[in-house]
Every structure is written in C-alpha cells, then in structure tokens.
C-alpha cells in the first residue's frame, strides 16, 4: 500500500501518466498544491480507468485557496492536514510526484 502525492496540475500530463502507471491495487492518490486542480470534474477522465481499490483524495487547504471548494469532482474525498498525516501512516510508503 503506497500513498502517491502529486502536486502539479493536469497540464503535467506525463507526471500524471507516470504516477498512474505506478499504481498497485489499494494504493491511494492525494492531490496537493497545484495538483488540486486535477480534482476539477473536467479532469475526471484522467482517473476513470483506475480500479475501485484505488482511493482518491485532495487536500482541503489547497482546494480552498484555489477556489475549488464547490468544484471538486465526486471521485475525490476532500481531506484536512490531519487526515493527510493519517494517510501517510496507513500506507507503508509514500511516493512524491512533482
């Protein structure tokens, strides 16, 4: 179980495709910083082919800052900093995509 942290917008297509290629079942993805834009519904297609066992999260401080509070796709669970820390505990390793 790996947590994948990603902090760039979907404009960094190859970063997203490298991350997606690196997923195992039961991994989690947390979008942070400019990565939060990836949680806009317009970008759902990026995540559509993922297995159900992969969980998708986005960081609240980053969605709020960017005006995304009302615009986050239902594919994502919005989490706070405490839950970010918990996610890094629940997963056995963390891979940062930046």
């Amino acid at each position: 179980m790996t947590l994948h942290l990603l902090n760039k917008s979907p404009q960094s297509m190859s970063l997203y495709s490298n991350m997606l290629a690196s997923l195992s079942d039961n991994d989690s993805i947390l979008l942070i910083e400019d990565g939060a834009y990836g949680a806009l519904s317009a970008h759902n297609k990026i995540f559509k082919s993922l297995p159900d066992t992969v969980s998708l999260f986005v960081l609240r401080a980053d969605t709020e800052a960017r005006g995304l509070s009302e615009r986050v796709s239902a594919l994502f669970e919005v989490i706070d900093d405490n839950q970010f820390v918990e996610l890094t505990c629940q997963n056995v390793k963390v891979v940062s995509w930046y």
Binding site: L5, N7, A61, D81, N82, V85, V94
Partner: protein, 130 residues
C-alpha cells in the same frame, strides 16, 4: 510514527516548502515524531539568516526554528547544496574566505549521509519537491 521529511523546494518560490512545514506541525501535534528534516537543492535557502520576508507574508525560516525548538527536531541542511547557494556556517565561511557565516540558528550543515541515516531510521520518508 517516526517521520523524516526531505524538502527540495525554495521557501520563497514554491508552495511545496510551506506544505512541508504544515505537514510537520500537524504530525507533531498529533503526537508523531519528526526524526529529521533534510533540506536539499533549493530547499537549503530556508536556512539563510539574511532572509527578510515581508511582514504580511509567511516566514518559513522563523516557523521552522520555533517548531524545532518546541519539539527538538533535527533540521539538517545539505552542506554541498548550501555552500553552492551561499548558505555558510562558521567553518564554511572560514574555508571559503567569506566575511561572515549566514546559517540561521537552529539549522545545521551536514552531508548527504544524514539523509541516508534518516531513511534508515525513520518509518516514513516524505519528499516535498517542486
């Protein structure tokens, strides 16, 4: 849980350096341990004592110093990355014949071995990059 963080990003130019701080603070307040923060690449700039951020903006050097004091965290700055970027402690200032040291209090210059050790001794290593 024992964490170590690797910070690659400039405290001024990229949000990622601030995210690392929020993560550290949140983890510590939740009762976890931060074994070490290792600043590498442009991340080393946080330890330049000459930095004077505008009053109304985030001051990451001071925030790290206060956090390290409160929780006794090891703030290690990669010496090779720091010397190249003009962040020197007394020894390095003397070695390179510069007038004065400018490593901020609370930070320590050391080698990449400290990163290897942090990897070996921590439960989780988290990279904050840009």
């Amino acid at each position: 849980m024992k964490f170590s963080l690797v910070v690659h990003s400039s405290p001024i130019s990229q949000q990622s350096a601030a995210t690392a701080f929020r993560f550290a603070k949140t983890a510590l307040e939740a009762g976890h341990e931060i074994f070490r923060v290792f600043y590498y690449g442009d991340g080393v700039l946080v330890a330049n004592s000459q930095i004077a951020p505008p009053q109304d903006e985030i001051n990451l050097p001071e925030m790290w110093q206060a956090l390290a004091k409160q929780y006794d965290i090891d703030l290690v700055v990669c010496i090779a990355a720091a010397v190249k970027r003009g962040v020197l402690d007394d020894n390095e200032a003397k070695r390179y014949e510069k007038d004065a040291a400018n490593l901020a209090a609370g930070f320590e210059l050391s080698g990449l071995g400290q990163l290897a050790e942090a990897i070996a001794l921590s439960d989780r290593v988290i990279t904050f990059g840009a």
